[in-house]
């Protein structure tokens, strides 16, 4: 009888597993993702001119930062206001390493990510005791401190070696691009591929043990502890991961057109980053892409149309208010819902053409 029971349980296990696989990777979904990737990698560079491709490169790089911050807020429930400063740290580490050594570009990115990850983890230490507003405040102060350090060190500076200084500090520094991607289009593709890798890392975390542990922590610290989750480890790991991503993005940014300079990372931009991440949507990792589009593409578009980009502050304010009050899932969650609603509304207007008739009240 025992054997019969086990066989039954086996069957249930496999049917449940197959149901999971269906929801995670249905063929249609994979096809759509594949088509989108092909378009982004191959189609976009054909359509866009140099300027807009630069913008899209920037969107790609910033989507890595928003991805990390989105994970931290949406999955773990911790707010960090120092991600923009950590982006600068990543750029700085990559540049200094380039001045001092001849490490190949991918390794440079990795080291920039790891060093930034360690610094971010240290900043995350208060998160073990603080939450919400106070954690946000501490991280904002850390961002300010990083800003001061970089200003004093005349970041990024062009002197030789690890700590070399030139008198011509303050101007932009450009990290040499990898040999395989020196041109604008090639570097755009390079960034997209790094971005895809980061999204895979994020997906792997979210779908795995870490994601489940984070879901526990987000709901309640004590629940997670009672389930055997080492909450200290997983909280710091989340901070480390988000910072790692910011660091990698910093390395990419240092090699993007125009390079980086010390005035590019004002502390208040970390707050702007939080706003776009909330608007993009924190409960889906794809919200990070929407957030990056809001952050980099929208200002460029407004500029192109001759509208003052100052308007964005108001627009983002209204957007965040909207998210906090009515659409906690952000644009990535809300737009498909609204589209479906619109489709139903159109269906009601023209009942003959669709099945809108079934929606009519039954008296």
């Amino acid at each position: 009888m025992g054997a019969v029971r086990t066989a039954g349980a086996d069957e249930t296990a496999s049917s449940i597993e197959s149901r999971f696989r269906e929801t995670v990777a249905s063929p249609v979904r994979l096809l759509v993702i594949g088509a989108l990737l092909a378009f982004v990698l191959l189609g976009l560079p054909e359509i866009l001119d140099t300027y807009w491709l630069q913008i899209m490169t920037s969107v790609t790089i910033y989507s890595i930062v928003t991805l990390g911050l989105g994970l931290l807020i949406g999955r773990v429930g911790m707010v960090s206001l120092c991600q923009f400063a950590l982006l600068a740290v990543g750029a700085w580490v990559a540049l200094r390493l380039d001045y001092a050594t001849s490490i190949p570009f991918p390794l440079l990115l990795l080291i920039a990510g790891l060093v930034t990850g360690v610094i971010g983890t240290l900043i995350g230490l208060p998160a073990l005791r603080l939450t919400g507003l106070y954690l946000a405040l501490i991280t904002l102060m850390a961002a300010g401190a990083i800003g001061v350090v970089l200003r004093v060190a005349q970041f990024p500076n062009g002197g030789g070696g690890f700590f070399g200084n030139t008198s011509a500090g303050g101007s932009s520094s450009l990290l040499p691009r990898p040999e395989m991607a020196t041109g604008g289009t090639a570097y755009y593709r390079y960034c997209v591929i790094v971005g895809i890798l980061m999204f895979l890392v994020a997906l792997w975390h979210v779908r795995g043990k870490a994601g489940r542990a984070w879901a526990g922590i987000r709901q309640s610290q004590t629940t997670a502890l009672a389930a055997g989750v080492n909450t200290t480890l997983y909280k710091l790991w989340a901070f480390g991961l988000a910072s790692f991503m910011a660091g990698v993005a910093g390395g990419l940014l240092a090699a993007a057109t125009g390079g980086v300079n010390v005035n590019q990372f004002p502390t208040q931009n970390s707050i702007l980053l939080l706003a776009v991440v909330l608007m993009g949507g924190i409960y889906s990792i794809w919200g990070a892409i929407v957030a990056a589009l809001l952050l980099r593409l929208l200002p460029a578009l407004l500029d192109d149309w001759g509208i003052s980009t100052e308007l964005l502050t108001i627009l983002f304010g209204v957007g965040v208010l909207q998210v906090l009050l009515t659409a906690p899932g952000g644009l990535i969650d809300q737009v498909p819902k609204d589209v479906a609603k619109l489709r139903r509304a159109i269906g009601r207007l023209f009942p003959g053409s669709t099945n809108g008739r079934s929606g009519s009240p039954a008296g």
């Binding site: 249930t12 043990k209 879901a215 502890l225 055997g228």
Partner: protein, 238 residues
């Protein structure tokens, strides 16, 4: 067996647990008492969320208070919460899986074990549902499934039947009473529903104002005059 010796907890000037000495012999043990008697505080001491000022707790010969809070779950301590705490953002399956992967090291039987815990409480049919869409009874059962997966040694159930109608409480009682035999764990059940406690528990301990006032076979304890007085109030007070 859990041996509690002279356990005292202090919150400022209050002693929610005051020199509690009791032994939970095994099987399903009841722990009852009026509101504020210290039952949940006792669970929180066992979980490591509250540090006692003095006293010891030995569970199966091990000094449980010496372990870090999250390691106690790895050792085999499980609990449910008074306000149900199944994790809303995860599926039923992932809720149980999460406890298993953080407490049991055996990967090869992981999925099998999770399914087993789910069918034990009768939730294998909704394994892929998100907890957020479930009703109160099912959420409670998710918590129970979480509490029995991954080789539990001690299972603490804090008012698992709170808010459930009588027939559902009865079903839950049957699930609870079969935990010791099925999973080899000692269960401590806190609940105000005396019919549930007498149906499930061979022995029962009674707390009142942090002090143990009775302990022994459930039938005798529930008839004890001290216990009656603690629940109904004394004549002097009236």
């Amino acid at each position: 067996m859990i041996e509690v010796d002279a356990l005292t907890v202090r919150f400022g000037g209050v002693l929610p647990i005051d020199g509690m000495t009791v032994t939970f012999p095994g099987g399903t043990c009841g722990l009852i008492g009026p509101n504020g008697a210290g039952k949940t505080t006792f669970f929180n001491v066992l979980s490591g969320f509250v540090r006692p000022v003095s006293g010891t707790v030995r569970a199966f010969g091990e000094d449980i208070l010496a372990m870090a809070d999250f390691r106690r779950a790895r050792w085999g301590l499980r609990r449910t919460f008074q306000t149900e705490q199944a994790i809303e953002g995860l599926t039923v399956f992932d809720n149980v899986l999460m406890v298993h992967e953080n407490t049991a090291s055996d990967r090869s039987t992981r999925r099998q074990d999770v399914i087993e815990a789910l069918s034990f409480v009768g939730l294998d049919g909704v394994a892929s549902h998100r907890v957020g869409v479930l009703g109160a009874r099912e959420r409670r059962l998710v918590e129970v499934a979480r509490a029995v997966t991954g080789n539990p040694k001690v299972v603490l159930l804090d008012e698992p039947a709170a808010g459930l109608p009588d027939d559902e409480t009865e079903d839950l009682g049957r699930v609870i009473s079969s935990i010791p035999e099925r999973f080899g764990a000692l269960v401590i059940l806190v609940d105000h529903d005396m019919s549930l406690v007498s149906a499930c528990c061979q022995t029962t301990a009674v707390l009142d104002f942090g002090k143990l006032i009775a302990a022994g076979p459930t039938g005798e304890v529930l008839r004890d005059e001290h216990v009656m007085r603690a629940y109904l109030g004394t004549e002097e007070e009236l």
